[in-house]
């Protein structure tokens, strides 16, 4: 049985249809990346899966006992709130000390456990959020544009870490990303979203699909070529 199955999902905001007829299933251990233009409903899809958005139609079926770890796009912490990383890890439920230390180590932030949340850099904050998501030993890790604001080396190392965590824990990963070239290299499956699922499959299949090209142009193929053998490259796109 899949970890999670989405059937005919419809989501509306103020009468506007953000997502419609979305079907998707996620299996154990696979890394799935959702790509799509701004406003295509990527974040909404993730927020619906974690229960922050109520769908207006369709359903989301969790495998019984499914544990989800969620890493939000960003977490602006008001400077008025004093909160150490370690205390943050124990919200809303206190976790065993050893588990907290292990999760922090896995996300490579063990040394800043006593730091104040409000003073962390963007990259440190992302890894703390990742550590917190890993704390309940999730079957499915959900990340919403986790590398936003990181530079290229930071982005690359973040995705390497995700891949390593998947290898160690066997958790599935569902994430949204704009870093198309990294996504293509690091994902098992890519879902191209634009209100509905335009295409869904292995990165090389999606990259060559007409629906994907219509959204992103074939220019992104250039970036993909850094990582994969290229056989559909075109030079006739004047504008990107």
């Amino acid at each position: 049985m899949s970890l999670l199955t989405i059937e005919g999902l419809d989501v509306r905001y103020d009468g506007r249809r953000v997502l419609h007829d979305v079907d998707l299933s996620i299996d154990s251990g696979e890394i799935i990346t959702v790509v799509g233009p701004n406003g295509s409903g990527k974040s909404t899809l993730l927020r619906t899966v974690i229960g922050a958005v109520r769908p207006s139609g369709g359903r989301i079926i969790h495998r019984p006992g499914l544990r989800i770890g969620y890493v939000p796009q960003k977490l602006p912490v008001d400077r008025s709130l004093p909160m150490t990383v370690r205390r943050f890890m124990a919200l809303p439920d206190a976790a065993p000390k050893a588990a907290v230390e292990a999760a922090l180590a896995r996300a490579d932030v063990a040394e800043i456990a006593s730091s104040q949340l409000a003073t962390l850099s963007g990259g440190q904050m992302q890894r703390v959020l990742l550590a917190r998501a890993l704390l309940n030993d999730p079957h499915l890790l959900i990340l919403d544009e986790p590398t936003q604001g990181l530079d290229q080396p930071g982005t690359a190392s973040f995705y390497q870490r995700i891949a390593a965590i998947r290898a160690e824990t066997g958790c599935a990963v569902l994430m949204v990303s704009h870093d198309l070239h990294v996504v293509m290299a690091a994902s098992d499956r890519v879902i191209c979203l634009n209100g509905h699922v335009c295409c869904d499959g292995r990165p090389e299949y999606v990259a060559s699909a007409p629906a994907y090209r219509a959204l992103f142009g074939s220019g992104t193929q250039g970036a993909l070529a850094l990582y994969r053998h290229e056989h559909t490259h075109r030079h006739d796109e004047a504008a990107e």
Binding site: G69, Y70, P72, D78, L81, M83, R87, L91, P92, I142
Partner: protein, 263 residues
């Protein structure tokens, strides 16, 4: 001497009862940037005073109902189209204005409105004390019960959802707590200065602490000490008590800021 004892002891008990609760609750007001929200709720309570007097029901009840209704309305319309700030401004000033106008229709012998605007802690009676401590105990119990959930909801709504916490429910809980505190505090510091008792001790405690729990406890201590200082000042120099209490919190705030600068 007996007069001094009972009067000042009652005032001290009332001041402590409100300040010890306003500290921790005020931390959430500061963290969530609800300072204007709490002001709007408090200002609305003047309308509650007026309605209670017109309907001849206890003032505490009138204030509680109206403060709760106002806070609930603000909560319900919270993130809607009108800028949060504007909506709060409309609510805060219009309820205060309607309250003051309503009071003016009452025979003037029946009410000294300044007692409700700025508090009249030396007029606190045993029954008021029971309401203040009872209401305060309820607020503290609510905060303690939901503490971790309130914190995660304060950090981020999506984060709370993912952890199985409904952030809107936690907001509603804070709203209820705020209405209870306003009703308890109106006799002590008055509708116009409740917000000060919420925000200033919490803001003072921020610079001195590293965890949310320590900040809440420190804010309660600062508020409590200020309440005692204000009552002493009021007795000694015949100053208005509510404003005197707030002056002490402001002094504590300035000192805590200076400490930050000097270090």
């Amino acid at each position: 001497m007996i007069l001094f004892d009972s009067l000042v002891m009652r005032a001290a008990a009332a001041g402590l009862g409100v300040a010890l609760v306003a500290g921790p609750l005020g931390c959430f007001v500061v963290w969530r940037r609800m300072a204007y929200f709490s002001d709007a709720t408090a200002h609305a309570s003047i309308l509650g005073v007026a309605l209670a007097l017109v309907l001849d029901v206890p003032v505490f009840g009138g204030v509680l109902v109206v403060a709760f209704a106002a806070a609930l309305a603000l909560w319900a319309f919270g993130a809607r189209s009108l800028g949060q700030d504007t909506g709060l401004g409309v609510m805060a000033h219009s309820t205060l204005a309607f309250g003051l106008v309503a009071v003016s229709f009452l025979p003037s012998v029946r009410i000294d409105i300044s007692a409700y605007l700025f508090g009249d802690i030396l007029a606190v009676r045993e029954r008021d004390l029971a309401l203040i401590w009872g209401g305060g105990a309820i607020v503290l119990a609510l905060l303690a019960w939901r503490w971790s959930r309130l914190l995660i909801a304060t950090l981020g709504a999506d984060m709370a959802h993912a952890a199985g916490v409904n952030p809107r429910r936690e907001e509603l809980l804070l709203t209820v707590a705020l209405a209870i505190l306003v009703a308890a505090a109106i006799k002590v510091v008055g509708a116009l200065l409740v917000g000060a008792l919420l925000v200033i001790p919490a803001a003072t405690a921020r610079g001195l602490t590293r965890t949310p729990e320590a900040m809440a406890a420190t804010a309660a201590l600062i508020g409590g000490a200020s309440a005692l200082g204000g009552i002493w000042m009021s007795w000694e120099f015949d100053t208005p008590t509510g404003p005197s209490i707030v002056c002490w919190t402001a002094l504590a705030f300035v000192l805590s800021q200076l400490r930050g600068v000097i270090r």
